[in-house]
Amino acid sequence: MNMQSQSVGPMNSRQRVLAALRREPVDRTPVCNPTSVATVELMDLVDAPFPDANRIPELMARLAATSYTELGFDSIMPVFSIIQESSALGCKVQWEQKDNWPTVKMREPIYQDVDDIQIPADFLTHQDTRCVIDAIKILRKEFGNEVAIIGKTMGPWSLGYHCFGVEPFLLLSLDNPGKTKACLDKLKEATIQFGLAQIEAGADALTLPDHATGDLVSGEYYERYLRDLHIEFAEKLAVPIILHICGKTEDRMEFIAQTGMAAFHYDSKNDPVESMRIMRNRTSLVGNINNPETLFSKGPEEVRKEVIKNLDAGVQLVGPECAIPLQTAIENLKEIPKAVKEWHKEKASQN
């Protein structure tokens, strides 16, 4: 059952998102993508193409704002990729062109051992972290308190993939759990520093991607390596935190619900009803419209079905499961808020 329309007056987008993250009543379910809604079509619309929109604050802010101004979502997320702080840590990045995301060159790792991990003195003034901080300031100035501005700070597990390489990091986790924990403990400083800087710049909430996905590691791994760190993030970063983990995660949702994270951005590989049952109102869910098969490949009718499936399950914030494919049609994205509003209208007329 949704926490909507319980004697709640009209809300603006920011109020709606923040209430849903606290699992408080809302006037309608907010539409939100805490990862990215950038598309090539939107880049053309506001003349803010990749890769520059990942590196120049004005372009980043302009492209990010389209989720609110063009698509009708209730949040703005200016960080379109997952590479900003890894670049500032020293990882090499393939910046690509307008039609592709920038990616860390994980085959060229910068760390081999725990002692290699150093957060550079210029971590928060590096072009690629500074860009995010400045973009948030621009957005806050432009939109005031009308829409939720969400920042993004990568968790230490994801940074481990970037800085050590995926396979070396996963093997380390099996061969030497103590050293792995020491690495995570040092990398968490980057997560905290970047998160605090974005809060200071005006972020209302933070997405924290930490890709301990069921496609790579077990739920037991999440408990062993990340649950306590995530509790620490929820305590130290004084805004609602939205944890993002791709893939199958039902086997670790119980542990996630114990962290104090405000919300969990979940993947379409997980069933909304079952996920809500596991969360038991301890953590909000955000998601979980399928990207490659639905938003990218099908039409508005199919998008609507997935929106309704989430609404019927009581999911607190509805949106795509992850950063949407850059070639996704705007028509499909606009269908999400449209379907949400119509579902609520229909429910209201039934009462």
């Binding site: 994980m106 995926v166 099996l174 790579l216 077990s218 990218f296 490949s297 070639q327």
Partner: protein
Amino acid sequence: MAEIADITHEFIRQEIEEFIERPEERQRTINTFAKARPEMQAIAAALIEGENDIVDQLTRQALDSGIEALEVMDYGLIAGMGIVGIKFRQNFIFVPEVLACARAMKAGMAHIEPILSAAGVEPIGTVIMGTVKGDLHDIGKNLCIMMLRGSGFVVHDLGVDTSPDKFIEAVEETKAPLLGMSALLTTTMPNMGKTIEAFIDADLRDEVKIMVGGAPVTQDFADDMGADGYGKDALACVALAKNLLGVVARS
């Protein structure tokens, strides 16, 4: 038909009983290990546990004692990886454990490959694998390669960010009859279709079977692009490769 009691190694018996649920896979595994001598079962057990030093040592000992390299590969290493693949597919183990098993397999193969190569023993198939242009993700592709190698294929790994020209060059150079492409990003998936078109333009499409996979890739997408097959995971990739090449198990 062999029975589980015919397998001497207790750990292997436990692994089969605990983790192999599908009746046909269970019987096939029992048949293989019932024929395997105890030394081979011990190699398989060490591999399943990811103990690369022990696999290294036992493989050397087996070869020194006069056991054929092909037997060590088929009944020790490949048989062990067979159980690893099933456990991975069924989510009993995850990528870190598979990486450790693949490392152990590699330790054993380091002794076996030179012998097989010198003896002119043909692999069950040769495959070219690569992540498509614009995509730097390779864990899925690498898992497929581990399982393919663990099943006796020779794999030429082209790495990440592979252009259509590089795929074509590799097929021309190696004469491999099978090519596998991987993509993790929706933005790079279309490059699979572009690579297939490049093979058509180069008049090489009939020379090579093409299989595709990756998190956002689906059977429908593979069909639309004109691929010969789609594998949803690493074990499916091995089954598909065998099917496309008409491979019959050596044993």
